[in-house]
């Protein structure tokens, strides 16, 4: 009998599959398609202090085995998320949800996490440090150990919920950044966020997306994700949530062997709205094929 449950920062998940932020809305669109309580959990749409429309369109580009998006954190703002989205979610999801939080200044992060700390429904706060720091010359918080640690420390002070820092892969040394976040009080690390990519429209001779560059995701980036998950999981002692191009149950197993305690599924949800359901349903078969009795046993099993 395939034992799929894992424990992420003290909270039990019936399986390691987590729908990734930005590909699952606030859950209820997908609840029309299948019972989302079958998920380990999901990370809701990146939420900021203020409401945001995001970037101009087009925001999407096709790539070989992947896509680029430049949505730009469109969201109704944390207050509306708490007053409107979460009550809607409670109608179709009775598990703890992961709150994905973004900001453009330390104060942004602190305000948003403080507000979310009071939400019973939220089990973990996933802090996206890939956004540009408006007070830091626009460089993303996630590109230096110092600024990533600064965000981590600041949100640590305002919430007792487990904090999972979501790292950007567009860096020279992911390990030093992950360690800095752990030292600053992170309860977990999730990676990888999207890779910075670009496509050009040959007819128009202009970037395909209005924002020029955007976040590259999809199965194409899986090998980079596995590498970084492996590096980080071998360097920190807090749990690692692996993501980046995960498309099938085999990918989930590979991520866990690399060191992931749980695995997020992102872009795949946009191509196959049933991706998470299909992966979870297929996991027992794949576990059998590779003689895995309990997924807990294979976390970091790649030696």
């Amino acid at each position: 009998m395939a034992e799929m449950s894992v424990n992420l920062c003290g909270i039990e998940l019936c399986n390691p599959v987590i729908a990734a932020s930005g590909t699952f809305g606030y859950g209820y669109e997908f609840a029309e398609l299948y019972d989302i309580n079958m998920l380990g959990t999901f990370s809701f749409k990146g939420t900021t202090k203020e409401p945001r429309f995001g970037n101009p369109t087009p925001r999407i580009a096709e790539c070989t085995a992947g896509m680029i998006n430049a949505v730009g954190l469109q969201n109704p703002g944390v207050d509306k998320v708490i007053s409107e989205e979460l009550p809607l979610l409670s109608k179709c999801f009775d598990k703890k949800v992961m709150a994905n939080v973004s900001g453009f200044s330390i104060d942004d992060y602190v305000y948003t996490c403080e507000r979310i700390d009071s939400c019973e429904q939220v089990g973990w706060i996933e802090v996206n440090v890939s956004c540009p720091n408006v007070h830091g010359g626009g460089m993303s918080f996630g590109t230096s150990p110092e600024s990533a640690a600064e965000v981590t420390g600041a949100v640590r002070r305002v919430t007792k919920k487990p904090i999972i820092i979501k790292l950007s892969p567009n860096v020279t040394d992911i390990v030093s950044i992950a360690k800095a976040c752990e030292d600053a009080g992170a309860d977990g690390i999730s990676l990888i966020n999207t890779m910075l990519g670009m496509r050009i429209d040959l007819r128009a001779r202009k970037p395909v997306i209005a924002n020029k560059m955007g976040g590259f995701s999809g199965s194409a980036i899986f090998p980079v994700a596995v590498r970084m998950v492996y590096q980080v999981a071998n360097a920190v002692s807090v749990p690692v949530v692996g993501m980046g191009g995960v498309t099938c149950a085999e990918d989930v197993v590979e991520m866990m062997l690399a060191g992931a305690t749980a695995v997020e599924v992102g872009a795949a949800n946009l191509v196959n709205p049933y991706a998470c359901r299909d992966i979870i349903n297929d996991l027992p078969r794949v576990m059998g094929k590779y003689k895995i009795e309990s997924l807990k046993d294979i976390i970091g099993g790649c030696r």
């Binding site: 590909t23 809305g25 029309e32 749409k45 369109t57 096709e62 896509m67 872009a267 946009l270």
Partner: protein, 243 residues
């Protein structure tokens, strides 16, 4: 929304680069004219949204123009199966039509108006249709609309057929409501000259096509909307024209 496998029973060109594909499958999720399907194609990552031209029973008709890799692949299909997400988008609201609705389509904006005309006529409305094309060789579906019992006017930008000029050159005297689909400049022109309220179907590059990724958002007077889920049809009163 429903994901299911359709069988291609026909796929042939209507003009040099406009094709009509007929498929059989579970169409139960298609609830309104003006909705679209999202097509999974081998070798491409994102699905491709194609508006529904006609549907009756388990038969589905799509008309698409070859503009990129996706539609190029589709145009080469001589049968086989397609993985579709069906019943996407809000579609047109028939209840607003009044008894003399005016339907205006430009180029590949024409197809979704076919099912709309069919249903309005079934409800006993007197439907007028303006079909705009660049030139005669790109024209399609004039007779199909006529066979439905609609009053059809064709315009061509170069005057090679029908009324010379854009669709707005053929606006009739009186109509009760406007339904339109086509390139944004045409929509804007119709918006400016139309005397009544109406429903406008917009295009945007989409990620998922079912409201999850926020890839195709636009601002309206009624708030931010996702073209794929809250659209593609917007009512005249809410439209904000960008730049």
């Amino acid at each position: 929304m429903k994901q299911s496998i359709f069988t291609i029973i026909n796929n042939a060109p209507l003009t040099r680069d406009v094709f009509r594909m007929t498929l059989l499958g579970d169409t139960s999720a298609i609830t309104a004219a003006g909705q679209f399907v999202n097509v999974k194609l081998d070798g491409l990552y994102l699905r491709r949204p194609i508006s529904v031209c006609d549907q009756s029973g388990d038969e589905l008709t799509l008309i698409y123009k070859v503009v990129g890799k996706g539609t190029e692949l589709m145009s080469g299909m001589r049968g086989g199966e397609l993985d579709l997400l069906t019943g996407l988008g809000n579609g047109y609201d028939l209840s607003k039509s009044g008894d003399r609705p005016l339907l205006i389509g430009g180029g590949v904006g024409v197809p979704p108006l076919y099912l709309l005309a069919k249903r309005l006529i079934a409800e006993g409305k007197r439907v007028s249709v303006i079909l705009g094309f660049n030139t005669k060789s790109e024209m399609f579906y004039e007779n199909e609309f006529r066979d439905l019992g609609a009053r059809v006017t064709v315009t061509t930008a170069d005057g090679s057929y029908g009324v010379k000029g854009f669709v707005t050159a053929a606006m009739p005297e009186n109509y009760t409501y406007v339904y339109t689909c086509g390139p944004q400049p045409m929509l804007k022109a119709v918006y400016d000259v139309s005397a009544t309220s109406g429903q406008f179907s917009f295009e945007e590059r989409m990620g998922c096509g079912f409201g999850a990724c926020m890839g195709c958002s636009c601002k309206t007077l009624y708030g931010n909307k996702r073209i794929c889920k809250d659209g593609p049809v917007l009512v005249k009163e809410e439209i904000i024209w960008q730049k």
